[in-house]
C-alpha cells in the first residue's frame, strides 16, 4: 500500500504502541493530536502494554491517560470478527504471529474499515501479506501531515521529531530519510550521535 496522507476524517485511525511511545517522546503529543483532522484510537491491548511499561520506569502511561482524558485518544475493544482475526494473528508459530498490541491494532482497523498506523517491520509485512486492502501508515505520516505544517510552529515540530529520535530511539523508514534530513536540517543531525546511522550520514 503506497502511503498517502491520512486525510479522511471519517476513517478511524488506529495507532500501535510504538507510535504512542514516539508521539509521547516528542513532548508535543497534545498539540499534534489536536491538529490532526481525524480521531485517533488505540486498542485496549496497547493501552495495557503502555500501562505495563510503568513497572520499568516509563512515564508514558501518565501522559497517555491525560491524552485519553482530554479525548485526544480513544481506547477501543476488540469484538466479533476482530477477535477471530486477533486470535489468528497471536496464536500460531512465533515467526507468523505478533504480540497482542500489534495484532489487535491490525484486527480492529481491518474490522472497522479504518487505517492502521504501525512502525513495526514484521507487523507491516504480515499486514501487507494478509490484509492487502488495509491502509498502513507509520509515525512519520503523522509527523509530516500537512495539517501540522499549517497548525504548528515548525521549529517546535522539528524539536518534536528530534526528541522522539533521541529519547525513544524512533527509527526512520528508509523512504523517509531524505524528507527528514531536509526538514530537520544537516546541522541539527550531526550533533545527535544517538540518531540512526542512515540519518546521520550526510550524503
Amino acid at each position: 500500500m503506497t502511503p498517502r496522507f491520512l486525510d479522511n476524517p471519517k476513517t478511524p485511525i488506529i495507532i500501535d504502541a510504538s507510535v504512542v511511545i514516539n508521539l509521547i517522546a516528542s513532548q508535543l503529543a497534545h498539540d499534534i493530536l489536536r491538529s490532526l483532522p481525524f480521531r485517533v484510537f488505540i486498542v485496549n491491548e496497547v493501552y495495557g502494554e503502555i500501562e505495563n511499561g510503568q513497572k520499568r520506569g516509563r512515564e508514558d502511561f501518565k501522559i497517555l491517560t491525560n491524552l485519553v482524558r482530554e479525548n485526544l485518544v480513544e481506547v477501543v475493544n476488540l469484538r466479533d470478527m476482530a477477535i477471530l482475526t486477533f486470535l489468528n494473528l497471536t496464536i500460531g508459530d512465533t515467526a507468523s504471529t505478533l504480540d497482542d498490541g500489534e495484532a489487535a491494532t491490525i484486527a480492529y482497523a481491518n474490522d472497522c474499515n479504518g487505517s492502521a498506523v504501525i512502525d513495526e517491520k514484521k507487523a507491516r509485512r504480515i499486514c501487507s501479506q494478509h490484509f492487502q486492502t488495509l491502509p498502513i501508515f507509520c509515525t512519520f505520516d503523522i509527523f509530516l501531515h500537512p495539517n501540522l505544517k499549517n497548525a504548528l510552529d515548525q521549529e517546535a515540530l522539528r524539536n518534536a521529531i528530534l526528541n522522539a529520535l533521541r529519547d525513544a530511539r524512533m527509527s526512520i523508514p528508509p523512504n523517509y530519510a531524505d524528507q527528514i534530513r531536509k526538514f530537520i536540517g544537516e546541522e541539527n543531525l550531526s550533533s545527535y550521535s544517538s540518531l540512526p546511522r542512515n540519518i546521520r550520514e550526510i550524503k
Binding site: 495495557g48 477477535i83 515467526a95 504480540d99 500489534e102 513495526e120 550520514e201
Partner: protein
C-alpha cells in the same frame, strides 16, 4: 473454529498455570481478579473446560504478559521454581525474585536459540558424585582433574564465567539480585546447567561463587542450590563445593610455588605480597590469606591484618596501578539484558522472526530499552551489508 479452540485445552491450561505461577498468584487470587469462580480456573488449568476469550484477555493482563507470549507454539516452558521451592521452608520474596530472573533469562535464551536454529553443545564436565571419606581431599582431586582437562596446569583462571560458558556450555547470568544471595544453581535435562551470580557483589566474590557452583555441577548436579552465605549449611555437599572452589581457583601447588617466589628474600609477610598473590589468582585478599593459612604456609595472618587496618583498596591500587582485575561483566549492569541475549535478539529482529512487541515481552524490557539494544548493536548501519559473509 477459531485458532484458540483448535488448541488442545490441556496444553492451554498448562500454559496458563505456568504463567500464573510465574506471576506469583494463587488460583484463588487470579480467579478473583478476573471475576470467575476458583473452580472455573481450576477446570481451565486442567483442560477440562476451554478458556473464553474475555477470560484469556483478563488473565494475560493480570499476569503481566500477552496471549501471544503464553500461547504461541514455540513458547518455551521453563519451570525452575518448583525445584528451588523444595529447598525453602518459607516463601522468601528475595529468593523468588532471583528464581524468576533466572527463569526469564533461560526461557528467553532457549526460545531465541530455537527460533534461530542455534544448536548448543552439551560439553558438561564429568560428574563426580560424593564418595565416603574426606570431602576436601575429593574436592582437591576433582578440581585438579578439571584443571588438567582444561589444560590449565598451575595457571590461574582469569575469567571463570567465560570459562564455564565456553568450555562447559553452562548458562551463566550476572544480574542485580538481593544482596544476601550469592547465586543460584540449577540443572535441568532440557536446559542444561544454569548459574545466576549477583551483580551487586564485587567481582572477587562472584568469582568465588561461580567456582563454588562449579563444585555443585561436578558433585551434586541434580540438586539445585540457593547460595546464601549466612545460611550455609554444613552438609557434605556444601563443604565439598567450598573446598572445590578454593582448589579450582587457588590450587595448592601453584599457591605454594608462587608464595615462595613472591616472598623470597623477605623476612615478613607484607600487604604487598598478599595484594600481588590475590590479584594473580583473581580472588579476594581475605580468600587468599585464608587459603595460605589452610595450606599451612602462614598462620594467624588475617586476624593480624584485620586488627591493623586491613588491606585497603587504596593500598591495592598503589601496588597494582592500572592492573586491577577487569570486571568483564560490569558492562552488563547498565544494559537492560545480557549481552548474549541482546545479540540473539538482534538477529531475530533483523530476520523478522520476532516483532518489537514480542521481543520486548520475551526479554521483560520495554520497547525503548529494546530499541537501544538493537541500535547499539547495529552500529555498522546499512554499510554492514557489504561485510564478508560468515559461512
Amino acid at each position: 473454529m477459531n485458532t484458540l479452540d483448535s488448541l488442545d485445552p490441556r496444553i492451554v491450561g498448562e500454559r496458563l498455570r505456568i504463567a500464573r505461577e510465574a506471576a506469583g498468584l494463587t488460583q484463588k487470587e487470579a480467579a478473583d481478579l478476573i471475576e470467575v469462580a476458583r473452580t472455573t480456573l481450576v477446570a481451565v488449568e486442567k483442560g477440562e473446560r476451554r478458556v473464553r476469550f474475555n477470560e484469556l484477555q483478563g488473565l494475560a493482563k493480570i499476569y503481566g504478559t500477552s496471549i501471544n507470549t503464553m500461547l504461541r507454539s514455540e513458547a518455551v516452558q521453563v519451570e525452575l521454581a518448583p525445584r528451588f521451592r523444595k529447598l525453602e521452608e518459607t516463601a522468601d520474596t528475595a529468593v523468588e525474585h532471583a528464581v524468576q530472573v533466572l527463569t526469564n533469562f533461560v526461557k528467553a535464551e532457549i526460545e531465541l536459540e530455537n527460533i534461530l536454529g542455534v544448536k548448543r553443545s552439551k560439553n558438561y564436565p564429568p560428574e563426580r558424585p560424593l564418595l565416603p571419606g574426606d570431602v576436601s581431599k575429593q574436592a582437591d582431586r576433582d578440581a585438579q582433574e578439571l584443571r588438567e582437562r582444561l589444560g590449565l596446569g598451575n595457571r590461574p583462571i582469569s575469567d571463570i564465567v567465560t570459562l564455564l560458558e565456553m568450555e562447559f556450555d553452562v548458562r551463566v547470568y550476572v544480574w542485580k539480585i538481593h544482596a544476601k544471595i550469592s547465586g543460584l544453581f540449577a540443572f535441568d535435562d532440557a536446559v542444561g546447567p544454569c548459574i545466576l551470580l549477583n551483580a551487586n557483589h564485587p567481582i572477587s566474590r562472584r568469582v568465588q561463587t561461580a567456582a563454588h557452583e562449579c563444585g555443585h555441577l561436578i558433585s551434586s548436579r541434580r540438586q539445585p542450590e540457593i547460595f546464601i552465605e549466612e545460611e550455609k549449611s554444613n552438609s557434605r555437599e556444601e563443604r565439598y563445593a567450598d573446598a572445590f572452589g578454593r582448589a579450582l581457583l587457588t590450587p595448592a601447588r601453584a599457591i605454594s610455588q608462587m608464595f615462595r617466589d613472591v616472598t623470597a628474600g623477605s623476612e615478613r609477610l607484607t600487604r604487598r605480597h598478599i595484594i600481588i598473590l590475590s590479584h594473580y589468582f583473581s580472588v579476594s585478599r581475605e580468600a587468599m590469606v585464608r587459603r595460605l593459612e589452610e595450606l599451612g604456609l602462614v598462620s594467624g595472618v588475617w586476624d593480624w591484618f584485620v586488627a591493623n587496618g586491613g588491606i585497603t583498596d587504596e593500598q591495592a591500587k598503589q601496588v597494582l596501578g592500572d592492573l586491577r582485575i577487569v570486571d568483564k561483566q560490569s558492562s552488563e549492569w547498565d544494559r537492560p539484558t545480557t549481552l548474549r541475549l541482546s545479540m540473539l535478539a538482534e538477529q531475530a529482529y533483523k530476520k523478522e522472526l520476532l516483532s518489537e512487541g514480542q521481543l520486548a515481552r520475551l526479554l521483560c524490557i520495554n520497547r525503548v530499552e529494546l530499541r537501544h539494544i538493537l541500535s547499539g548493536i547495529d552500529m555498522e548501519g546499512n554499510s554492514f551489508d557489504d561485510a564478508p559473509i560468515l559461512r
